[in-house]
């Protein structure tokens, strides 16, 4: 009961003021038959020390000792100490949505800065104040494009994050919207010929992720031309926005959206994260989510307010642009602080560091007999490697060496059997990368030894 400030005496006084003799009377409007009579079967009450012990116990059954090469939409990056120090200010994290602007200038100005940073990074004209995560931001971008074009077909790259595609399907299933998937080319990029075939006069939007789920950076020149010629809009999703520090954002896109977790938000087993959505000025009234705008007070001083709120559910109700109510303010604040700390130079240096590490790892793995990097396209910090044998067995061997070796792609792409998606950020050191390569080599060697034992020499397959 340490959180409750009322003393038994205060409670008694308040009840007396209300003319009640017991607290039960305040609940008398709830019919007796539906009152809960028992005791809830819940843990606790626990002291603070016991809570800490409980969660430390849970935290110990984790992968915190492992070097992680997992990415696929959730990226481990170093978080400078200043991020949490500032997020922990109660004025930020215990405040609500800034409806009363005079009491929330801190949150409002920070969100205005977030919108500016996202616009700068994506090269777009305007950004909202964040959405739940990358998967819902992509879905909201598609819904926005359906409204803008008044068409009802969606074309989506098969290399869009598989879980993002699932979320989109959940939202679109009930609108009678047809979704066509476009496969990837042998180089791992969007298959242009297939895109041409998929586009019709009813196509509202084409969604492409870059770097895509296979780590490959897409080229948008021809894609955008095809999309726009058919009268559709181009949505580009970015799950690893650190890439935008060294990879040009596609200027041809109509909406660039995605996940900003990389910027100072912990991986935390999948959430909370922070989605973003940026677009052109002319589309702003069809944007979902909160927007902060600059204005002046009665004395002419600069200040910030939530604006264009008539798009939103609390005013337009069933006609709103989205059912979303909250944004992801605290995570967007983390991203804002992170981006300010790294700044122009820091972000670029970090991106180059990721790029160099990933390319080092890829080139070393490519030398392992039986392994290869199948997609010959530019990549950022994530790439596909074909394992020299059964990928599950290899992953287990890597785990023995305290390495989480990547995502087995067969789970999402049955044709990519024994292919791993490997992500290398600055959180993995060179020693771990070299250890990984050694495990690959040993695995490959064992496999060849096994093969040699069971087959006469000279009959092995390549």
């Amino acid at each position: 009961m340490r959180y409750l400030p009322n003393s038994p005496r205060s409670r008694a006084e308040m009840l007396r003021t209300l003319g009640h003799s017991s607290i039960e009377e305040l609940f008398s409007q709830i019919p007796e038959q539906i009152r809960f009579q028992g005791r809830l079967d819940l843990p606790g009450p626990l002291s603070e020390q016991e809570i800490l012990e409980f969660f430390r116990q849970a935290a110990s059954q984790s992968t915190s000792e492992y070097a992680s090469l997992l990415g696929a939409g959730a990226y481990s990056h170093f978080r400078p100490a200043a991020v949490d120090a500032l997020l922990s200010r109660g004025e930020f994290f215990t405040a609500y949505t800034p409806y009363q602007a005079e009491l929330a200038q801190g949150t409002l100005q920070a969100m205005f800065e977030f919108q500016t940073l996202v616009a700068q990074l994506t090269g777009m004209e305007v950004s909202n104040a964040s959405l739940y995560d990358g998967s819902t931001a992509t879905t909201e971008a598609v819904l926005m494009a359906l409204r803008l074009t008044r068409r009802n077909r969606v074309v989506v790259a098969r290399t869009l994050h598989p879980e993002y595609r699932e979320v989109m399907a959940t939202y679109l299933r009930h609108l009678g919207t047809e979704v066509t998937e476009v496969p990837y080319s042998p180089a791992g990029q969007l298959d242009i010929a297939a895109l041409k075939k998929a586009l019709t006069a009813e196509t509202a939007v084409v969604v492409v992720q870059s770097p895509n789920f296979l780590g490959v950076i897409e080229r948008f020149g021809e894609v955008a031309e095809l999309v726009h010629r058919s009268g559709a809009l181009l949505v580009v999703t970015v799950t690893e926005p650190l890439s935008l520090a060294v990879v040009k954002p596609p200027a041809e896109a109509d909406i660039i959206c995605g996940e900003a977790q990389s910027f100072g938000v912990p991986v935390a087993f999948g959430g909370p994260y922070v989605g973003f959505l940026a677009t052109r000025d002319k589309f702003v009234r069809q944007m979902p989510g909160r927007l902060v705008g600059q204005t002046v007070d009665t004395q002419g001083r600069r200040g910030f307010v939530l604006t264009l709120a008539t798009r939103e559910q609390h005013i337009r109700r069933e006609k709103a642009t989205s059912n979303i109510c909250t944004n992801q303010s605290l995570c967007a604040l983390a991203a804002t602080i992170y981006l300010c700390l790294l700044g122009k130079q820091g972000l670029k240096t970090l991106a180059e560091h990721n790029l160099a590490q990933a390319h080092y790892a890829a080139s070393r793995l490519a030398t392992v007999p039986g392994a290869c990097v199948p997609f010959a396209s530019p990549f950022f910090n994530e790439f596909v490697v074909k394992a020299p044998g059964n990928a599950e067995v290899l992953l287990r061997d890597l785990r023995q060496e305290k390495i989480l070796g990547g995502v087995n792609l067969e789970r999402f792409y049955p044709e990519l059997r024994d292919h791993l998606l490997v992500c290398v950020t600055e959180t993995v050191n060179k020693a771990a990368l070299d250890r990984m390569v050694r495990v690959y080599k040993e695995f490959s060697g064992q496999k060849q030894a096994r093969a040699a034992a069971s087959h006469p020499v000279g009959q092995e397959k390549a």
Partner: protein, 129 residues
């Protein structure tokens, strides 16, 4: 306050008929109820409008209001000034801030609308409730 040459609807639109053309706007009462108007969405020339059906929206900071057409017909002109200067609807609702002009296809519909006197009585009654 409310021009005698206009006819009025219960949804607070006015129409001024000249021959077979009607000019449509929202009333001073409507703009006061909405407060500072920040955005107007209007149809295009050539679009059809139907009596008692919505043809656009007016937005204030915290409200959206549908605009209903007093008559049926085809839009012949749209007041484009309002895109840049929606605040005209607050300062000059009965003249400079007209919304659309319509070629009337059912001129007799106007007869069912209220006169200025009836409209003034109507809003007095609404306010007293």
């Amino acid at each position: 306050m409310y021009p005698e040459e206009f006819q009025y609807t219960k949804d607070h639109e006015w129409i001024r008929v000249d021959g077979d053309t009607g000019t449509i706007g929202i009333t001073d009462h409507a703009q006061k109820e909405l407060g500072d108007i920040v955005y107007v969405e209007l149809p295009k020339s050539g679009d059809a409008v139907t009596a008692a059906e919505t043809f656009g929206t007016v937005e204030s900071v915290k409200a959206v209001s549908e605009i209903y057409s007093p008559v049926t017909g085809e839009v012949t002109a749209v007041n484009n000034k309002l895109q840049e200067h929606p605040e005209l609807l607050n300062s000059d609702p009965h003249a400079g801030a007209w919304l659309i002009r319509v070629h009337l296809s059912e001129p007799q519909e106007v007869e069912k609308l209220m006169s200025s006197e009836q409209y003034e009585a109507y809003i007095r009654e609404a306010e007293s409730q």
